[in-house]
Symmetry: C2
Subunit: 401 residues, 2 copies
């Protein structure tokens, strides 16, 4: 399917019409790092969100879910350095105060404010810094780039994109920013991702389109198997293009572009997983159905043993087969084939002799492809992950100290 | 419950009457390391086994399951350095040949031979070395110690124990050896564990006793979340003590001692996880039932983020709470308490201020205790794991190279 999509050079979440953003160094992380950002639409938007399935939910998640009940939003406040999760009643109070500060600054309705916080769990927000910080933020058309930086924790690069697509007679733009890069094993959403569009879109369709896009992108990404209490994906459509309203009968091109945006951001999250040096793409084909293919692909992409082997360019392919076996899906060893970077290592359950040196060299590249053919059905799915490096351990053994 | 159990100094799998063992450097691993071992009972034993739930099963697992159908065995052959898994028809043929070589050496029935192989997956056994090796092995009463070493892969120490216990009027002994130390997340069994006893025990009871002992020991241990295709636990009872046959009505003391042996070996496997520097004990209490407590405990013990924090003595306790939230169990954040090394960090869902320096110092010790009180029911369970170190990655990024 081709829908005249175009990736916009240096595009970001403020590329669609009517969106502004800005960020500041509030001092939540440290003095010289952007850690507080604001995204704003000039008009109220149709808005939908997907949230973590973790039963521990951060205060911002609880409040944003409530604010989205009317499917409207006009601003998103985000901070890094503190997740405001496991902070009890105080955390909810702090999230409410952030809402009120934003209402005061922007003169919008409290229900139109969405909040997201990411960072350490179990520590309250330094509200005196947040209060000053929100006042200091200046909004601009270029501010999406600063916003993308302000939401980073252990991310090593900002993740942003904008794609334009023709919806009926009008060009609409979908922009997005996201952050990883640890506690990433999303289960309905990812860590944090904000999506914007200047298209006019029906709320029900917008929600369904977001679910579909997330199912094959963020929900197929894993860094370390842990789902965060802060996971949130927001999608705001302000309709400023004044196109004919997009709905279930006219949404194909919009859906395809949204899928592209989510896929790009999700792969960026995997590529920039904590300590990662390589992006791992895992395709599982020939499963009895898509659900089982997804399950196997995600299990492979999150196996510490597979990830460590990929890190060392060690063609220890038996580990991949062992993960498939323990993943709970239907399978038949004697029908299974396995490919690593297009090289066949197992055919119908039997090992195939291969050029170890050539495979090692190909595994040294920045992207590694694993393909499992179960050959018992039509189900297929792709998951993305990263290698497991000594650096991951170093980052995560000293996170709060 | 006290059953006059006694741990026997330097006890091992050959400490019970009538068991002999031996091992040799066959050259499967490298020239100077024990890698092929044999355990033998002077008389045929009542024997039971538990095996991996991985759908990929190694050739030794497939053959041993078949040989155990009659609940009898007299010998176990084990090698390290090669798992003989994902080796197709050739692997089954090689396992059969090992059976026949053992039959030839010991003059026992083929069905009385059990086989276990551990090491790299997807590589065939070097049978010429195995053939010579089996002939070279000399059996002795002290040979259990050599056997424990011959089954090691990345283990840094052998895992062996023997406990004597009074069963009615007689003292019986239960001995055991086990190996880890990667691809450990057992789901019915662990990597490899061989248990022996000189007690006379009814087969049905023996099987049930083994299941019960494994449920709270090996099945509650995790190193890296990956279940191996080679997992096997064998328990051989040769009856040479000539005690009154132990069965369901008289097995309490035997069960308690068997639990002890399994628990000791399981904790040793966790303590010696690949790259591990600390043993992590995770207790979950107050869950709605035991199944949910087990699920939460195992999830915590296998979280890379928790394991890395423990490695760095980083009191980043929010990660533990986040794992409970994503573990799929019933819970109520506002009722939950959390303790790290007896220090309360969260009470009824609210963070508790604590002495960070003191906690860090206590986390520097070799054993770390995590206790989660859900306070919504009576279910409790304990799981064991280890920290995640840079060394784990180093080991596993160069395993076959």
């Amino acid at each position: 399917m081709s829908f005249e999509q175009k990736v916009i050079q240096s595009g970001t979440v403020t590329t669609p019409k009517g969106f502004l953003a800005g960020a500041t160094c509030a001092g939540i992380k440290s003095q010289d790092k952007l850690d507080l950002g604001l995204l704003y639409s000039e008009v109220s938007c149709v808005a939908v969100g997907l949230f973590t399935t973790n039963k521990i939910k951060s205060a911002p998640v609880i409040l944003s879910q409530k604010h989205l009940e009317n499917n409207k939003a006009q601003a998103i406040v985000v901070n890094s350095g503190c997740a405001n999760a496991c902070t009890g009643e105080r955390g909810i109070g702090d999230a409410r105060e952030i809402t009120n500060l934003t209402v005061g600054k922007l003169s919008i309705l409290p229900e139109d404010v969405l909040i997201a916080s990411t960072g350490v769990i179990g520590v309250p927000l330094p509200m005196e810094k947040v209060r000053v910080g929100i006042m200091k933020i200046t909004l601009s058309k270029e501010g999406g780039h600063e916003l993308a930086k302000a939401m980073m924790t252990t991310d090593t690069f900002p993740k942003e994109i904008a794609i334009s697509v023709r919806a009926d007679s009008e060009q609409v733009i979908i922009g997005g920013v996201a952050k990883g890069s640890g506690m990433v094993h999303p289960d309905l959403a990812t860590m944090l991702c904000f999506l914007t569009t200047d298209a006019d879109v029906e709320a029900d369709f917008l929600h369904s389109a977001l679910q579909r896009a997330v199912a094959t992108s963020f929900n197929m990404v894993t860094v370390d198997g842990d789902t965060s209490p802060s996971d949130s994906v927001f999608l705001l459509a302000n309709g400023l293009v004044r196109n004919q309203k997009i709905g279930f009968n006219s949404g194909e091109a919009f859906q395809a572009a949204l899928n592209e945006v989510c896929l790009y951001l999700a792969k960026s999250v995997a590529r920039d997983g904590e300590g990662a040096t390589k992006l791992m793409e895992v395709m599982v084909e020939g499963a009895v159905n898509e659900t089982e293919a997804r399950q196997a692909a995600r299990n492979i992409a999150s196996s510490s043993l597979v990830k460590a082997a990929i890190h060392g360019s060690d063609p220890n392919w038996g580990r991949v087969v062992a993960v498939v076996g323990r993943s709970g899906i239907e399978m038949n060893e004697s029908k299974m084939d396995l490919y690593l970077n297009q090289m066949c290592l197992m055919k119908s359950g039997n090992p195939v002799s291969f050029d170890k040196g050539a495979l090692r060299r190909s595994l040294d590249k920045k992207e590694v492809y694993i393909r499992v053919c179960l050959n018992i059905g039509e189900g297929k799915a792709t998951a993305w992950g990263c290698d497991l490096s000594e650096e991951y351990v170093t980052i995560n053994s000293t996170y709060t100290t």
